[in-house]
Amino acid sequence: MSQPRHSVIRSSILLGVIALLGTALLAGVNELTHERIIEQEKRRVLQQLNEIVPTALYNNDLLADKIEINDPAFFRHSAAVTVYRARMNNQPVAVMMMVTAPDGYNGDIRLLTGISANGTVYGVRVISHRETPGLGDPIDIEKSDWILGFNQSSLENPDNDDWAVKKDGGQFDQFTGATISPRAVVRAVHNSLRYFAANRQMLFETPIETEDQNE
């Protein structure tokens, strides 16, 4: 009777030791790679921001100069909108808003919309999406130039009614076989512009939140 119990205890201890070794290994590797991973992610974000507003146009620390906006009703999404502010010698140059379009064909489409201080679009990039390859994915700059069609647009250009895909009577192209993805993007960009117009001063003047380095 004591034999099997003894064996159970031994096995448990052995398994525990293996788990402990595994955990120690992971903790060690995590410690070694942690800094670099954060750095890589920052580099990636900065790279995306610079695609929209080139480094020559601003001289502040773009990654640090950011605020978060919580306005689920306006943006039709519960995710907070991150806003990066580009400034040249403390003069506002542009904001870059990381917005989430809730109505993609396969769920959320995350977009980075750059809007200059006078309210025209610097550029838009799709950051992440799950649209159908070959149908909805031309919204991605890697697949087509469609997204560049937003450059230089503003609330007045085109008119309010034209801020839609052609199928809905607007001026933006849809894709063959895919209307939903471009429609979602157009709406989200339009929304960002409207938000910017209504809150311009707040967007530029809200002080940076204290960095919570809890990662």
């Binding site: 595994g22 590797v29 995590n30 670099r36």
Partner: protein
């Protein structure tokens, strides 16, 4: 362990018992990420590294592992190894990590890995186990690369696109445009294309094998049966 035995292990893992084409294990990542050659190669290399490290660890501990806890122990070892690889990729091959995303942690669920731990590493010494891990990983990697190349070529008319994610900036010059102005063949890029391409590869391999009409040796059939049970 003599040299000829190691050769035998190599041939078994890479060809006779090819994980992707013969044993048909680990199909989820195989089908999901092989839309380009580079993606296939990257996941293949990550899987190969996992197989070698997990086989080595399991083999080194085989004297300690009691039968009733061996499966949880294998899972712990494999999961640790995969997580280490995931962290390293996240830190050093960030772009690739973004492309392969969820399929890196999913290497854990590749039953070929636990299959090799159970069928081979837990019964053999570390060196042959390491070689077995290498051979099995190589076989899997080759299958992924072939499948990726086939689908990339048919689907978008290129080879090695995105190589910069794996090799750094100079990798972008590796991209070969085989069919210029390819309109894109969606079927090859989507999951059904993966199944069809895999079927073609398996058929090609079987045709080749039938031509040679070499019957598998008894030892490999035993291993095959073991692997099937996992």
């Amino acid at each position: 362990m003599s040299d000829s035995n190691l050769k035998q292990i190599l041939a078994d893992g890479a060809w006779r018992q090819n994980t992707g084409l013969v044993v048909l294990l680990g199909l989820c990542p195989l089908l999901a990420v092989t839309n380009t050659l580079v993606n296939g190669l990257a996941l293949g290399l990550a899987t190969m590294a996992t197989l070698m490290l997990s086989n080595l660890s399991v083999s080194a501990m085989r004297g300690l592992l009691r039968p009733e806890i061996r499966i949880p122990a294998f899972v712990l070892i494999i999961a640790s190894v995969v997580t280490v690889i995931e962290l390293l990729m996240h830190a050093f091959f960030y772009d690739l990590f973004r492309v392969l995303g969820i399929f890196i942690p999913l290497i854990v669920t590749n039953c070929a890995i636990i299959g090799r731990a159970e069928a081979f590493a837990s019964r053999n010494r570390p060196l042959p186990s390491l070689v077995d891990g290498f051979a099995t990983g190589l076989g899997f990697c080759i299958t992924l690369v072939l499948l990726g190349a086939l689908r990339e070529l048919i689907g978008q008319g290129t080879l090695l696109s995105g190589a910069e994610m794996l090799f750094g900036d100079w990798g972008q010059y590796l991209k070969l445009t085989i069919i210029p102005d390819h309109p894109g063949f969606l079927l090859a890029m989507l999951p059904p294309g993966a199944f069809l391409s895999l079927a073609l590869l398996i058929a090609a391999r079987n045709a080749w094998q039938a031509k040679k009409t070499v019957l598998p040796s008894p030892s490999t059939t035993t291993l095959l049966r073991d692997a099937d049970e996992v």
